[in-house]
């Protein structure tokens, strides 16, 4: 089993997403929530952090995307949307949770 990493910061404001990608191990699940969901959007200057990451699986919290007016078709391909129940499932499916605030 691998770890779940949570990121709640905009990648334009703080380096948490970049740090998580750098410091997470193979098979990592990375969940973006709160302002972290901006990292899941297409066409930004930081998009390649996600599209270029290998052996990591990305998730974003759907309700936080909706609150911020980010339509599903603007989410980077391969990023899976979850609700809070899905968040709970991710916590259960992984060995532990690392919050990179």
């Amino acid at each position: 089993m691998a770890d779940l990493y949570t990121v709640n910061k905009s990648p334009f404001e703080k380096n948490s997403l970049e740090a998580v990608i750098r410091f997470s191990t193979e098979g990592a699940a990375i969940l973006m929530l709160e302002d972290g969901v901006y990292g899941a959007t297409k066409g930004t200057v930081v998009e390649s952090m996600i599209t270029g990451a290998e052996n990591k699986k990305f998730y974003a919290l759907g309700s936080d995307l909706k609150a911020r007016g980010i339509a599903e078709d603007r989410v980077i391909d391969g990023v899976e949307l979850v609700d809070y129940a899905g968040f709970v499932d991710l916590v259960e499916a992984n060995e532990k949770v690392q919050a990179w605030l």
Partner: protein
Amino acid sequence: MSEVKNFMYLNRRAPYGTIYAWESLEVVLIGAAFDQKVSLMFVDDGVYQLVKGSDTSTSDMKNFMPTYRTLGDYGVRHMYVDQASLAARGLTADDLIQVEWEDWETEEEIDNIVEVVDADSVAKLMSESDVVFSF
């Protein structure tokens, strides 16, 4: 108070993740009573405050985005958006809400006071204001 100052509200934070955007807006609304010249500047993640389509129904937070559309009625004359901040986030002016303005006395109308400007203009506009509010 007869003195009229140029007020600039500097917005550099995304909405919802923190309350700064909303409580900053509350100052702008209250400030309307004071008849100053009011502009808002959106830079860095602040540009996200104006992205349209916000829906907080599944997150149980107060949706304050519609309030931005009413700012023209609260004495706000200019809402400036930094072009580079938009571009870095894959956004264009089309992604942003529009805000109408009307002068009740002269009946002068402006369809949209949201204006995308370049970095030099941001610097100049900030510099020309008398008071800068930061949140």
